[in-house]
């Protein structure tokens, strides 16, 4: 009855296998670099968002709302195609000679995800009793130093589960980079499909790889959480 002949051999060896492997590499690079940028940026934004200085707080709020509330795909197109109109020609020429597709994808993914991460970390910070900040301040720490040494180390621990979510979202969202020609995993799977017409196999393989990447991120972050951040929590 089956009209479709499954042929897994085409994607487990040879040319198409190499394409998928190169796609996995690009997806891993894209996700890893963007996760680092997104986390650092998100941390910074969370602190700015809670600053005592009103203008700083509002600028951070505007940034968060702007990037949280526009589609990631639009942002990717903006950085890749839209930036051309506002940058000087010399900068454009230089960018076009580099791997600008990849860079634009990293910028879009980092900035987009950082907005979500900032909100998660902020809720972590808010959950630390405010007496701790008061105690730190009266012990002579400045606001930023109190954040750095007292509040953030605790807040980040509480924030681990939502952070994992954001990292997973980022890894999966990286597939949108295919729209500007970044040859990541989904792009390569689609290439394999259009050359072989074996869509089930190509996207099946991509699905498995995404599952492995996502589970690895979850596993690694929770291991780090258990061993380093919250050793007392281990059951």
């Amino acid at each position: 009855m089956l009209n479709y002949h499954f042929d897994w051999s085409i994607i487990t060896s040879g040319k198409y296998f190499e394409w998928l492997v190169s796609g996995v590499k690009v997806t891993l690079e894209l996700s890893a670099i963007s996760i680092v940028f997104a986390f650092v940026l998100g941390l910074l934004l969370a602190v700015l968002r809670m600053s005592q200085v009103k203008p700083v707080r509002y600028i951070a709020l505007a940034y968060l709302e702007f990037f949280r509330n526009t589609p990631l795909l639009v942002q990717i197109f903006f950085w890749y195609f839209g930036s051309y109109k506002i940058l000087p020609q010399a900068v454009n020429d230089w960018l076009n000679n580099t791997n600008f597709e990849f860079a634009a994808a990293v910028i879009a993914l980092s900035i987009y995800t950082s907005a979500f991460i900032a909100e998660d970390i902020r809720s972590g910070i808010l959950s630390i009793p405010k007496e701790q900040m008061e105690a730190a301040r009266s012990a002579g720490f400045s606001y930023l130093r109190s954040m750095q040494y007292i509040i953030l180390p605790q807040a980040v621990r509480i924030t681990v589960p939502p952070l994992v979510n954001q990292f997973l979202n980022l890894a999966k969202n990286s597939s949108l980079a295919m729209t500007i020609g970044v040859a990541e995993l989904t792009y390569q799977a689609r290439q394999v499909e259009s050359y072989t017409f074996k869509g089930f196999e190509a996207f099946g393989a991509a699905t498995v790889v995404y599952l492995v990447i996502s589970s690895s991120i979850t596993f690694l972050v929770y291991q780090y959480d258990r061993r380093v951040l919250n050793p007392h929590k281990a059951a």
């Binding site: 195609f81 454009n92 597709e101 020609g181 792009y187 689609r190 050359y195 017409f197």
Partner: protein, 272 residues
């Protein structure tokens, strides 16, 4: 987990059953019965298939052929926009009855679907900034833009192995990348390039150098083994060549007064 797997298998099975039921059907009889021919066409690719600014309807060379076939069948015509990547799955899933979307006939595709006789013949070339590219060597090591899921992509990889091919979702996007200097050239069939260039606001900055890397015969795509329908379409195409209708359609979209003037270097023949 086990329940989930069973559910998954069930969905898969239903999917394949529905799929095989459709593939085995006789489209000619079905189309006549339901009174409508559903055609997968391009909607952003002048002059083959694009949305007319005044009427907001899809028009073009591909569409005119389908209009004739639908008329011949005595049924209504329904146009459904497809992309290069989506058109074959759409056909196989039964969402459309026939593909008329600038589709090049090649042996790999012919394993999956059946093609009609060639109704348009063109070759793959490049759009480049004026005066920059004289031969293929000038494109070595450069970025070249095209659309996903097209034969253009495979041909250019073979012709210039050192080039980086950037595949976008459609040709207008690839051309935007060319205008912004993000790629050194956009490559696909000359007829499509002529259409893109014809619509470009700054067309005097670009050209189509006389470098051809392949022959591209277009065919209408139908489900594999749908013999009655294929025979009917082939017969209709030959009739259109005999009564001058095919030439008239060509002149309408590629004649000297159009924005994409080309010479008709082919005739519709029994070319399988």
């Amino acid at each position: 987990m086990k329940k989930l797997m069973t559910l998954f298998a069930a969905v898969l099975l239903v999917g394949t059953l529905a799929h095989s039921a459709l593939a085995a059907g006789d489209t000619l009889a079905e189309v006549k019965k339901k009174g409508v021919l559903v055609v997968g066409v391009k909607d952003s690719l002048p002059p083959f298939g694009y949305i007319d600014e005044k009427t907001r309807e899809i028009v073009g060379y591909d569409i005119d052929f389908c209009k004739y076939i639908a008329k011949k069948l005595g049924v209504k015509l329904e146009l459904k926009p497809v992309t290069s990547a989506s058109r074959m799955p759409q056909l196989e899933e039964g969402n459309i009855d026939i593909i008329a979307a600038t589709m090049t006939k090649n042996p790999e595709r012919a394993k999956q679907i059946d093609f009609s006789y060639t109704y348009f013949l063109t070759g793959q070339k490049f759009i480049t900034p004026k005066g920059k590219v004289r031969s293929l060597k000038d494109l070595a090591g450069k970025k070249i833009g095209t659309a996903k899921g097209s034969t253009s992509e495979q041909n250019v990889k073979a012709a210039i192995p050192t080039a980086t091919v950037l595949s976008f979702d459609d040709y207008p996007q690839a051309f935007l990348a060319l205008q912004q200097g993000k790629v050194a050239a956009v490559t696909t069939d000359e007829s499509i390039l002529a259409g893109i260039l014809g619509k470009a606001p700054n067309k005097n900055k670009f050209e189509i150098p006389n470098i051809q890397i392949s022959n591209e015969p277009y065919g209408l795509g139908m489900r594999k083994g749908d013999t009655n329908f294929v025979k009917f379409v082939d017969k209709t195409l030959l009739e259109m060549e005999r009564n001058g209708e095919a030439r008239k359609i060509f002149e309408r979209w590629f004649g000297p007064k159009t924005s994409t003037p080309l010479k008709r270097t082919f005739k519709i023949t029994a070319d399988k």
